[in-house]
């Protein structure tokens, strides 16, 4: 199997599986229990928190564990909007966010908030000037993703936050860092980012766990109620093995960050160059379509459009050779769900349903890329022969 769908999820590191098994077996106590078993479990959480706070260079008090990226985004947006509604009812986000943000924004609109959706450039980035002109007196929150999950475009959080806060100092800045955590060094305090959503399973950690960094300066209300765990910010017995697994996966990812980043950029460059040699293939999300700008994009995502081939058919053709990738849009009977990101970057309509995403991890090798390339070279002409006229 050649797994090129690491933006969907990653293989859990063996070390993480081991550590979690051990905790499930030996440290099964409820961290809220008063006895020793509870204390031991609580210790695991504290240890994890220290690791993660260290990586983000924030205080341990500013980390809240959640069930994953979606819950982190929900807590960040709903929690902040409701806690700060007296300061204003205006929110800003982008048209290319993950559904966890977009759908939550839709919900907040139903609750009476007004939301501005910023467009993006052809390479998928938010223009700080556009953000500046969207900020109003009653804007309370800006949410901009760090790395786009479909095309790998990278936003300059520091610049965006600076611009927004220059106009309205009290503005809260959230970023969905699900695709960038473990790939980039993220220091929220230095960048002026107040809320950061992170997920475990995109960095070879377990599914069902994530975190939200909440700056101690931010006013926020919980969205889940119950036993008052995590200082009432997120009730529910903590997922101790998951939290320990998330921390270990993060530590491993950051220990090898530089080396892996270099390697993935090499993979990306090689893959991109070879793809462009094939007939009717174009790449998305590369600034000025110039491969020398590749380092302005995320190292692990390549979005490519294949003229005259339906994405889903090509995906299944690759699947038959055990190469797993993902398509931007899911096929449904008569109207394919069109990708918001691909539409927003102004991709030609005819290519919307012809675009695949290839995403790498530290475990992807050059030979995997070469195999994928040769299968593509073989399948594309075959599939084009039978395309719809």
């Amino acid at each position: 199997m050649i797994y090129l769908d690491n933006s969907a999820t990653t293989r859990t590191f063996d070390e993480v599986t081991g550590c979690m098994t051990e905790i499930m077996r030996d440290t099964f106590g409820n961290p809220s229990s008063m006895h020793m078993a509870g204390v031991e479990a609580e210790k695991e959480i504290r240890k994890a928190k220290e690791t993660l706070a260290g990586i983000l260079k924030v205080d341990t008090k500013e980390i809240v564990f959640t069930s994953g990226g979606t819950e982190s985004d929900n807590l960040a947006l709903i929690g902040c909007a409701t806690a700060n509604r007296r300061d204003g009812m205006h929110l800003i986000t982008t048209a290319v966010e993950h559904p966890a943000v977009l759908e939550t924004m839709k919900y907040l609109e139903e609750q009476g908030f007004s939301v501005t959706y910023l467009g993006v450039s052809r390479d998928g980035r938010v223009d700080p000037k556009e953000l500046a002109s969207a900020v109003r007196d009653d804007t309370i929150l800006v949410s901009v993703m760090h790395v786009n999950n479909e095309i790998g475009a990278v936003n300059d959080l520091e610049e965006l936050s600076r611009v927004a806060k220059a106009i309205k100092p009290g503005i809260i800045f959230h970023t969905d860092a699900v695709q960038s955590f473990g790939k980039f060094r993220i220091y929220p305090k230095k960048s002026g980012v107040d809320l950061v959503s992170v997920s475990g399973h995109k960095i070879h950690g377990p599914k069902g766990v994530g975190l939200l960094y909440i700056s101690d300066k931010v006013k926020i209300k919980p969205i889940l109620f119950g036993g008052g765990q995590q200082k009432g910010m997120r009730s529910g017995t903590e997922n101790v093995p998951g939290i320990a697994g998330l921390a270990l996966a993060a530590r491993m990812s950051y220990e090898m960050l530089d080396e892996v980043t270099e390697k993935m950029y090499e993979l990306k460059r090689h893959f991109a160059e070879e793809l462009l040699k094939l007939d009717g293939v174009s790449l998305n999300g590369i600034p000025d379509d110039d491969l020398s700008n590749i380092r302005e994009t995320s190292p692990h995502i390549v979005s490519a459009s294949f003229e005259g081939v339906r994405a889903e058919v090509l995906l299944h053709a690759l699947e038959a050779k055990e190469i797993y990738v993902s398509s931007g849009s899911a096929c449904s009977s008569n109207k394919p769900a069109v990708s918001a990101t691909l539409t927003a970057i102004g991709l030609d309509r005819s290519l919307l349903d012809s675009t695949l995403r290839f995403s790498f991890s530290c475990e992807t090798g050059m030979d995997d890329i070469d195999t994928a390339l040769s299968v593509l070279a073989e399948e594309l002409p075959k599939l084009r022969k039978y395309s719809r006229h």
């Binding site: 889903e312 058919v313 299944h316 699947e319 038959a320 096929c331 009977s333 039978y386 719809r388």
Partner: protein, 393 residues
């Protein structure tokens, strides 16, 4: 009330003359299978033209009835009380107790239907009707007898033992699967074909099925969806032997060589041919499709005629005169609708022409098919070799 047994009523089987035991045995077999995944232990017995499900352990009545309602051939399910014969006075007492427990609200009308199947029993049925009626009226003065439209029909049957029942839960009707041969269902992921399979099985026909998939144009999930549909239909029909045939190369050859507006009709002709081959190899006596006149271009009367001419086995089309809405109603009733509308089926839309022929002529279609002469026999053989057989339970 916990009933010690359920009386199974069947209609059409009763008129089958000397074959009757074949039908009854098939019915008992289907009942046993249906109860296999139900909590509790049951013994299915037959005596004097009656089938009983005897409950040997604790059970959940709703679950048992739901399971029995999947068995074709059952007309009604009656929860019964079973008594040993301890004299007529005791029987009157039990009848009163039955009414008391079964109907807490006594303000109702009733009629007694006594049946003396054991002719040696000392009380005649008309006498029983009167005496039991009196006993009940004596115990519950607020009850009334109504011989024309009673709210409660109290049945008391004297056989080896004595059975009392008043409730009848409708069954699905039809005939037990396996009593009318076997046929091959052309199963797609749509709404119609599962319903067609259900309806033919209801007439006692055992079902095998064939599904044509076209990777990479259709996905693994589309195939899983068809398996899921077969599973739902199998609740009624028993195990379905599902043949999965890889149809991609035939489809590509037709696409390449034949006029595009004739694509669907030619494709269907090859599906019928292959289905017939597999049907004959597996002892099926007919083919089943979900076609309904005029629903789509390939189901006009002309198209059906052109499709039909390629096979010699009879093609059963139980939905032929149904409107879409009527088909949907059945699919909702049998539980296939939700799965049928999952959006995986149309991934091979590239093979559908914008304006397919609606009035094909056999002569012209046959001529178009000659363009495939150099390769089609081999492709058909190859497709049949891909047959992946799944026993869907």
């Amino acid at each position: 009330m916990k009933y010690p047994a359920f009386l199974i009523k069947y209609a059409e089987i009763a008129i089958k003359g000397k074959n009757r035991y074949v039908f009854e045995d098939a019915l008992m077999h289907r009942i046993k299978l249906a109860l296999k995944y139900t909590d509790g232990e049951f013994a299915v017995t037959k005596s004097q033209g009656r089938v009983y499900v005897n409950c040997l352990t604790d059970y959940d009545e709703d679950e048992v009835i739901a399971a029995l309602q999947t068995v074709f051939g059952i007309n009604a399910i009656c929860p019964v009380v079973k008594l040993a014969d301890e004299g007529f006075d005791k029987l009157c007492e039990e009848a009163v107790r039955y009414i008391d427990e079964e109907y807490p609200d006594k303000n109702r009308t009733f009629k007694v239907f006594a049946k003396r199947a054991r002719k040696t029993y000392p009380v005649r049925s008309t006498e029983m009707n009167c005496a039991l009626g009196e006993a009940i009226l004596g115990a519950f003065p607020e009850m009334k007898v109504d011989v024309h439209e009673p709210e409660i029909e109290l049945h008391v049957e004297v056989r080896e033992d004595i059975y009392i029942y008043s409730r009848q839960v409708p069954g699905p009707g039809g005939m037990p699967v396996g009593t009318n041969g076997k046929a091959m269902l052309l199963l797609s992921g749509g709404i119609d074909s599962p319903v067609a399979g259900y309806m033919i099985a209801k007439r006692g026909v055992k079902i095998d099925a064939v599904y044509f998939h076209a990777p990479p144009y259709t996905s693994e999930r589309a195939k899983q969806k068809v398996i899921d549909l077969a599973k739902i239909v199998a609740k009624y029909t028993g195990t379905i032997c599902l043949h999965v045939i890889n149809f991609t190369d035939i489809q590509l050859a037709i696409y390449e060589k034949c006029p595009h507006e004739e694509l669907t009709i030619i494709m269907r002709r090859y599906m019928m041919r292959i289905a017939e081959r597999i049907a004959l190899e597996n002892g099926c006596l007919g083919l089943i499709t979900g076609e309904s006149i005029g629903q789509v271009a390939s189901q006009t009367v002309q198209s059906l005629a052109v499709t039909n001419e390629v096979c010699t086995l009879p093609v059963f089309r139980p939905l032929i005169g149904f409107d879409k809405q009527e088909i949907i109603e059945v699919s909702e009733k049998i539980g296939t609708f939700e799965t049928s509308i999952l959006p995986y089926e149309d991934c091979c839309t590239i093979f559908v022409a914008k304006h397919p022929v609606t009035k094909p002529e056999a002569k012209i279609i046959r001529r178009s098919e000659t363009k495939l002469a150099d390769c089609i026999d081999e492709l058909v053989e190859k497709a049949i070799e891909t047959d992946e057989v799944l026993n869907v339970i």
